[in-house]
Symmetry: D2
Subunit: 338 residues, 4 copies
């Protein structure tokens, strides 16, 4: 941690900071310049992170030099994490993990139909919402447990894995009974009680980046899961909120190489929510794989005109097959398989 | 709702949209122009909002004309809401509601001391966190129920009201036992299960705007509370996330007149979280009152050097007294009292 | 400047950085910690700012500790700058500087009429665009020199000062002939050749903050003017671009106390462009004065229905008089006059 | 254009809007609903775009239905534009256009060396700045005409094309004498006088997207060029400003498919400025090609440690060769050539 003192800071003020630092078991190094004095603090930064040195008299700024995350960090674990999902499926391995299905579970026949279509096209994970976070209280809120049962049934018929969202600490156990992977949605990325519960479950977790979450905050939310002993965590870029309105959100493709450098966790990209328009889903899926993503999450609906949510961004099964064809050579170009 | 068809849309495509509209019990009005056809949909927009008309063949864009919120809307209730808190305190009335106290409840003596200081200066609400949403799992997470007890004790000593955050559906009942007003934090603004639980409690709720929430989304989250029958809701502007880093967040002062125009709910401003630096808290507090805010939430700590959270943005009691003095003539200038 | 080395940086890499630092006449201070080595660089940071130390082998990050601006800085000049405009008008003094008038100069009679109205209400500066920066090439581009003549005539009739935008290096001289103050618009805040020309003129300059400019970048653009010897510079906050669309832009009220702390230059706020809707102009004007702004720039049009630009955000003269009445007690509350 | 009236709008107010519409030669279609009246305006929207209907009494909102750009629109010209550059090079054709070179022209030997390196690796365009837009007046401002001469010489030696930035209306002619393609930088995207001058020159133009420019605004700035008769325009995505600070800017990959759908102009991506860190340049270059970009602009410097600007984001020639190798199979996967 680097403490920069104000130009007019007194020697007593410098002394005061140094004493506090020593009290915490760290070592201050003072560098006196012409204009300013700088104090470098050597040792475990965690001990001092909670101390608001910014408010000490004479302090101008405080800059941490260590990353605030540990277990999720690439320094902590050099090898990329490969989540073994059963069924031979993995996330983070050579094979690109493809998760596909409707935004919401709407009914049995539709779901079984979609599962079959996306499985034949190459998806090993069936996605679908049983509990839906909706901006308006008047929108369809999901089928709840009934939806979970349908997901399990449809996935089992095809030998697929279920990934579905959990929104409430009280339903983590329920969702875990049906799902192979728990999804924590963008709006709940900093619902810390939910993270703790999901961390204590043994289920793999797909953690979506919040609309206005920095990459560092996303990794810190993953740290909540890892700190509870659950290391089967995949991160999901699904678009951030910017001033641009031509797309629903702005997929931050840059986050892929940044996350790959900072953490050992696999990275999934969701171009359906990221763009909000089906026309853009295929090119963004291609670009995600080219940038190094470990997988994709894609909304597929047999009849988007009748979808109860997110119709505009859903691919019909035929387009989904085209997506799978188009990402194949890209995946090969970067040493992956589809 | 206005549906604009693509320049090359066929008459059959126009017809197809119109039929769907009629099926839902609404009336389409077709206007054929030189370049494009436009379909105006008259009737209760809610019925069609869930239908993804964007994906119908030939459709270029769909624009809603009605607001998605109802109960929170100024059209629904013209008179501004005044929340009666007991003790003669109100939120939304002539008197500016001032909520002050430490970021976190850290201990008994400190809290009793702060409560006394801020009460003498004019604050009727004691704020303080017992459950703390922290970005890192390694930061202080709050004292939990012990913190709630201390808040109640300190407030009772002074005849103050307690406002404190609830983060988890499972603790709504517990927090309600001690608090006079439940705070839903920025990170939980779209934790819809929590909103539903808070809506079902009878407690007044202070709903903070999410870091990347639009004003419309904030009102829709309030709508979740109102739709459960709880109309004692105050909205809190606490800064949004923008590219600017000179302040921790960017207080959106514009939101005050916008919210006043769109809803009947009172508006509180939190300049401590909004700016992240105590130096800016007083001028922003003045500007909030000048813009028409109904109240302020201010972090006060007797010794920010030792604060367990948010030290840099906390005022010492002496500065808080100055804040109260400085907002008084501003409040009078806009027809309010402090 | 603080250089943090990577955990696996070699002693040779540390040495290499230190040598480069010494070569430039500065002194490196090396602090070796358990995890990392940190190099503090003491001396004039400017010398090394241009050196991309980030790319030196073994370097993880580089953090400047000095501000990049000098002449505009409060460290350089403690006393606030007061621009003497002639006619007894000042910017940055006790009296709030009010600039008002139409968005564009549209015709003689209208302009003379508006000038009279706003002057009677208390504005000493007449604003109006003769050269208009328009997003679309098909929008009204301004009357050019004819517009400048009309501005001069209308202002002279009332004994007012003219502030008007200059967009092109080639017209700085022309605009200077008619105007008392040159305005550099938000889109040109980083048109560096224009800044240099305006810096070389002797005219006071009103520099508007770019839509996505940080406060630091705004001050650096002012530094371009000051570095050419022109110290008569006022900064203008006019709203930044964020995700919020309820207002045209988001006025960054926080920028007022930040700019006041960082620089000695006066700060003007433009609530008309900042909000984009006349309904919000008055409350935001009040909040700007309450936060410590030195002046306001307000669009006034006698008949917004017929305005050639920015009609929706223009006040009619009657509303402008109300604005002046409402800011008066606020100004007094903060020790200013209107 | 769609005009939505307020719930309490009077028949006279509806009438007043209709009359104004007819006066302008357009046809209003009135749809009366239970809650609101909507007026659809049929005809050339341009005629009415300048009229501030928002301020007419009783009007709640105004929504345009036609795009504000014409010549740049895909509706106006269905075929993608292919810019013939001479030397057999094109932009927008099957072959990916690669522009590479140093950020600034710093000296003769370095430039000749870089040109040779990037040409051998496959770049046909030499980039380099002679006039540099720098945030601080104290940074290196470029070599000016001397730099242009060096660029021409180095490019001619290799049979390459020169693309370089023009910042000032007064130097458009000078830069045109040396360059094959004029670059208009992000900070000047809305320097409308510069756009007009560049539009009047016969040179191809590379127009970079502003840091906070919407896609629609970028296209409108291109429209300024096209409206002056210059159709040889390529658009460049180089990152937008968001809250994320892990990268210098946020490359908006989504803009590629959006621009491809909205306009016929070729799209170039600049991952060097977009990310600000050389480590991320190669993955983002791959993703840009995968998403459908027509070309890349890459900063290459033989010795980034000594670069006078943008060292941290420059590739050394060896890394640039690797970039070219890595994009080749991606380009083939999307039907292009490198």
């Amino acid at each position: 941690m680097i403490v920069v003192m104000k130009p007019d800071a007194t020697p007593e003020q410098v002394q005061h900071v140094c004493e506090k630092v020593k009290e915490l078991g760290l070592t201050p190094h003072v560098s006196k310049g012409v204009e300013r004095t700088v104090i470098g603090i050597i040792g475990e930064e965690d001990k001092i992170r909670a101390k608001p040195l910014e408010v000490f008299p004479g302090v101008e700024s405080v800059t941490p030099i260590q990353k605030p995350y540990k277990l999720a960090s690439r320094h902590f674990k050099h090898e990329p994490t490969v989540i073994e999902m059963g069924n031979g499926a993995t996330i983070g391995g050579k094979k690109v993990a493809v998760m596909a299905g409707p935004c919401s579970v709407e009914g049995r026949d539709m779901l079984i139909n979609v599962a079959k279509e996306v499985h034949q096209a190459g998806a090993l994970f069936l996605r679908g919402g049983a509990f839906k976070p909706r901006t308006s209280p008047y929108s369809f809120q999901g089928l709840g447990e009934e939806g979970l049962k349908l997901l399990r049934e449809a996935a089992d018929k095809e030998g697929m894995l279920v990934v579905t969202e959990v929104m409430d600490t009280r339903t983590v156990e329920l969702v875990s009974r049906y799902a192979d992977m728990l999804q924590i949605g963008a709006r709940n990325m900093q619902n810390f009680d939910l993270l703790k519960e999901a961390g204590m479950s043994k289920k793999p977790v797909l953690l979506k980046r919040g609309l206005s979450a920095t990459i560092s905050e996303l990794i810190l939310s993953a740290e909540y899961l890892l700190a509870k002993g659950n290391f089967k965590v995949a991160l999901c870029e699904r678009g951030i909120r910017t001033f641009e309105t031509a797309t629903r959100n702005t997929i931050d493709i840059n986050a892929i190489p940044v996350l790959k450098q900072e953490t050992h966790l696999p990275v999934i990209v969701d171009p359906s929510h990221g763009t909000g328009k089906w026309e853009y889903v295929i090119p963004i899926a291609r670009s995600a794989i080219a940038a190094g993503a470990d997988g994709l999450m894609i909304e597929v609906h047999p009849n988007p005109e009748e979808a109860l949510s997110d119709g505009p961004q859903s691919l019909i099964p035929k387009k989904f097959r085209r997506l799978m064809q188009e990402i194949r050579p890209i995946a090969e170009a970067v040493g992956r398989q589809v």
